[in-house]
Symmetry: D2
């Protein structure tokens, strides 16, 4: 079978390292498929690409080798030490990682750039060219039929959307004019990826990655894209729990969320400008599910001692019958990268399928993977899951038109 | 419009008192509809009975007046004292409450029977007759078009189902033979209710209330019934949260649940024989949602100081990608009666609708209200809600066949 | 016996209203002494003033009557409605409350001043005179032998301590010069109280209340004073729990504290300038107990729906043997005013005793009541309690020199 | 300096393996002293034995090598893999471990005995002889000046204390008569240890280990002993937190404690007869601290997925001023063996000191290390710590009589 490239932006970060570790272990049959939705029954007939046929590459601005990062993740999570063979495979993946850019990512991200990175003296267009070249070389070197680019880089400061972002012309003009106020690194990566005919997934909250201009480009070039911000922890719980209040007609008065993060992500988010992006993407879902906006501040604190172990406490204060006030508290303790990595692999497979099927523009059926699914108003987790099941049912029906269509949801 | 009776078994308990308080306040326009699902938009065109047209009555074995119980509920929940007019209305409802029976309910329940109750020396058939007579008098006195009986009595010890419960013949033979080992009080109430042409809701976990024999009777007489065990707290959270683990293909290793209850319900459940019923009804959902049975013991402890404030702590230990173990903790703090009462009112309205529509047998569309919805395998809360929405859509379509059917779920 | 006045600054706030309610109930024998440390055995022989002989008065800038506030506190806390007689007594106390000043208290506090307050056009010295006069009239009207003033007003923005605060001369110069940058309302209250020969307790974190200059004045006039910030919730738990880590030589890495408040106190603290005072007084204890400073941010959030129900969540991450990392989580849910009020009454009695005994300057034996006990380095709760027991032992020994001194701690 | 033996009963268990791992790492300077109280300043002048001079040995009925168990502990706790040199040292310690006995330990413990163990056909006296011989050989082989025996074996079913346990004569008669109903394995170990002139620490709740008869033997032979049940988790938190309620005169209504354990300890405790011992030792402290007995059940549940990670949830419901009810919740998540091991090492050093000083009978100054310190009524953690500090002060004063005695507590 033909091979597909999975090209990671931020390829030496903790999530990317865990993606690589997972891909290596899966293709060697060293672990089960817990955490991978596409390994469940409803996806079995879709012909998703096998772990074997996925080739990893990417860019980063950090020098720490992938296997070092992966080992730290394993230790924190109480996992067995990596076998030698796995360490060697990770070293090979590490060789595939090229130097990236941190244009417009703010001080917090720049401070990470201890490794080689694309010179800031390059114009925006030159930077795009270099990125395209890297992707193109990666594709040719491995003789890849398709490439999916996933943005796993640290959160950028949000960009203020203005008419220049509304259409492709505006964006290309900004590139020509080298107007650095209108773009972030993520903009350049998406633009380059689409020009190189790749599918694109924005796993971060950075809003410069999938502006209307870039979605237009995806449409035009017939490529599938989706974002934003992988849903891995507190927001995941929220999207599962919030419908309870609607279904009982209980009024949520307060949903106070406190997040503690200790990894690189946490460190970058301890900078106000970067944190702003995160807060925005975490904010939206609740009011969409409930139909009104409760008092729902979300705090994010950098707690270095936690490392990769994300801990969140949510306090939900609600009003019930006769106006009585009651509460729920939720403590979520998970390993950030370990929660995120399988989503990246799931979406790589599904984006690869979409590429093969010639889907273009946003992929709303991936909503369940995102905190803030672009273009989708459905935020309840179960309803989002149903969207994905409906998609799978449709794909199957198209493949095998004679077969009676049944809801795949029931088979699970 | 014609009036409907809501006849409560255990009518002076905390849930029933809160039902009465709510009904009084709603019909007088003294409070909003928070907590009532049937007050939300998707139900507006169904023509559900108005609060005004609901007449309350029932039986109990306890003497404490309804308004005293209701006041205690309000105080615990931090609510305003009852206005004089409401107290008076509750006193009228209290007048409607007759003496009941505690046949086969175990020692814990018997100990509550400080008030008048039906003599134990009566045969089972005589007891049934007396109950029928009470319902019949209630119906005539208020000139009711329909009556819905709801079982809110304390949990009985479970009955061991055997061939005698499998069909109506067996049950009637047991009644004739006065075989007290085969029935519980709830059996007699259901039987009497159905003979009196009432709809019947079993809000308790008592499994003697809706045996196959009684469902057969409902079918035969063209009456709607449903149970078991109102879903108000920990199990409610479970049914909202458990799908998250399926949707992420995370493996639940342990779901340890600890429930603390301080009210009468808690006191009765502190008796092993009665607790057994509860544990069983709480048990089923999780494995149905997950598709496998994790280590999931449920503890129930009587903590007198809590009174009506139910507090539950759930610890969920799960395995994710690469086998890493993570956890969620949930603390639920709610007022038991205040959570339960609106469900009773919602179901009274929906059962009244079913009566009018001539539905017979189990009402699977009420699954979202129950811990262990009889005859329904769907345990995820959102999926259960969808069943109810689909029902509402169907009813609307039948009423107004020309109107284009749209999913009501979207309107909410 | 002679009577003692308890003069409250912020006398219509929730804490003060609860103090008044408690004093009324205690002197009428309507409730037990739960929450009052001075009602326990070790204090019985000290000859503390009886609840009967305590006369309440004070000032405020808010108009809402005391009994209205007290009723709200009771309802939130699930208590019985106030008997008529108690409401009447509270109305009498309310009559004793005069208009106060909010000089230098910041916008958040000013916004509360819907009632009458001392004109801002008065000079500082004139304001002091007015306050002195009010206290003096209160003392004469009730023929009081002694007066204890307790500051229960909302938290002021912190004052930057400079040489002008170091000595009495500097302070009095500031008053003469009407230099509003150097004082806050609390400064004027303390100054006036001491000039009027009252004991003074600063129950708030406002650092302008007990500057070195004012402690000097207390020393000079032979009066006892103490502060700062009553210890009622999260910090109380901290001071009990933190010694555990020292006693096991476990290293606290992170002690993240989140506080949610919904009452007036919370509203004022939602203003950054006022919050700053609170944070500072909460900060100090932990590093004193542990002997080093862990990562220990304290968040304070205004959550209106909580009303008087303070909810705090602390996450403690610590390192143990072999460097393993473990954690403790604490959720504290209490009613702010109900936790604070008995401390005010306890300290009123103990300050009255100190007045009688001619104690002057700070009262370190009251350390256990404060988040940041002025002039005391002991922050562990049990060790602070021992200081109080030692004081009680000393007082007893002085009263009855022949009696063999035994540790009172043992009697408890 | 002379060497001291640390002889562990249950030497291949998780706690013992962690003790061995710690001792190896400490003597090689591979880790800091976090978790070790005797490494803090107040203990520095006492001349405690150095880690270097501690020689490990012991008995067990399980075959799994020490280093395998230690590695699992490290992995669960997220620690680095063991260096080769450490693994070798552990292998040497493993060589020192002899086969033990499980007489009277109940079925749950017997099931563990997959390794060699002393034959059940031996009489009690013969078994004692064999144990004595093992200890004696260990002492001679390593030329040890002193030996401290610590019982780390799984919890035995409690023994019903009767006159036969009241004095040494009764015990010796039981041994002569081979009366197996009157003894447990722990009885034999203690008896043998004392006959072999060893100090003895009972780190388990097994009440057969330090009956009055055995304390009498210790007195008679001039040997120090102490127990029972190392205080490592929920009870530790309780002993720190409970004094808060006394110091505020808050009335604890309910202290509901749920413990989840997944290791061998948990498995053994899932047997009712063994659990009973644990419950008893956990029970006592609270009422001693509070001065009354609240509703305070303690649950212990075996949750296999947790492994060595002990998780406990405590719910404390208390009454404050005006009768208002409030609550605290505590979640404790720690690694059982890692919390326990340093206590064993601390007590080994302190028992060694007591041996050198000729102390005899119980060591009340070790109270802070035990859930149920034998012969000590002080249960508050800080007060227990003070007992230890007072002891250290006394020892120092005796060593250096001219030196001015100061409280060591202050130096910390």
């Amino acid at each position: 079978m033909s091979k597909t490239g999975l090209y990671l932006v931020g390829a030496r970060g903790q999530v990317a390292s865990t993606v690589a570790l997972g891909a290596v272990c899966l293709s060697r049959g060293l672990m089960g498929s817990t955490g991978l939705l596409t390994a469940t029954k409803p996806f079995q007939r879709l012909g998703l690409i096998s772990w074997h046929d996925l080739v990893l590459g990417g860019v980063d601005i950090r020098p720490t080798p992938l296997s070092t990062v992966a080992e730290a993740v394993c230790r924190t999570a109480g996992l067995m030490p990596l076998p030698e063979a796995v360490r060697e495979s990770l070293a090979s993946v590490n060789e595939e990682i090229d130097s990236g850019t941190a244009v417009g990512c703010g001080r917090a991200v720049r401070d990470l750039a201890e490794g080689e990175s694309l010179s800031d003296t390059l114009s925006l267009q030159e930077t795009v060219c270099r990125i395209r070249e890297k992707i193109s070389v990666f594709r040719r070197r491995h003789d890849l039929s398709r490439v999916v680019v996933v943005n796993l880089a640290s959160t950028e400061p949000p960009i203020h959307l203005n008419p220049a972002h509304a259409g492709l012309d505006g964006l290309e003009e900004a590139l020509v004019n080298n107007d650095r106020d209108l773009v972030r690194a993520s903009t350049l990566y998406t633009y380059a990826a689409l020009q190189e005919q790749c599918a694109y997934i924005n796993f971060t909250p950075s809003n410069a990655a999938l502006t209307p201009a870039l979605v237009e480009l995806a449409q035009k070039r017939g490529l599938p894209v989706m974002g934003n911000d992988g849903k891995t922890g507190e927001t995941l719980v929220k999207s599962a729990l919030a419908p309870l209040f609607s279904i009982r007609n209980l009024r949520v008065l307060t949903w106070q969320g406190y997040n503690m993060l200790g990894n690189m992500d946490g460190r970058v988010l301890s900078h106000e400008e970067n944190k702003e992006s995160k807060r925005r993407s975490k904010d939206r879902g609740l009011s969409r599910i409930l139909g009104y906006q409760p008092h729902a501040p979300v705090g994010i604190d950098y707690v270095p001692s936690l490392g990769d172990q994300k801990t969140a406490w949510d306090f939900i204060h609600f009003e019930g019958f006769l106006g009585a006030r009651m509460s729920v508290q939720v403590t979520w303790q998970g390993f950030d990268s370990i929660l995120a990595a399988p989503l990246v692999l799931d979406m790589a497979r599904l984006a690869d399928l979409a590429l093969r099927r010639g889907e273009r523009g946003l992929m709303p059926h991936l909503a369940c993977f995102f905190k803030d699914p672009q273009g989708v108003r459905v935020h309840g987790l179960v309803d989002q899951y149903r969207m994905l099941m409906d998609y799978a049912t449709r794909v199957n029906a198209e493949k095998d038109p004679d077969r009676k269509v049944v809801s795949l949801a029931k088979e699970k």
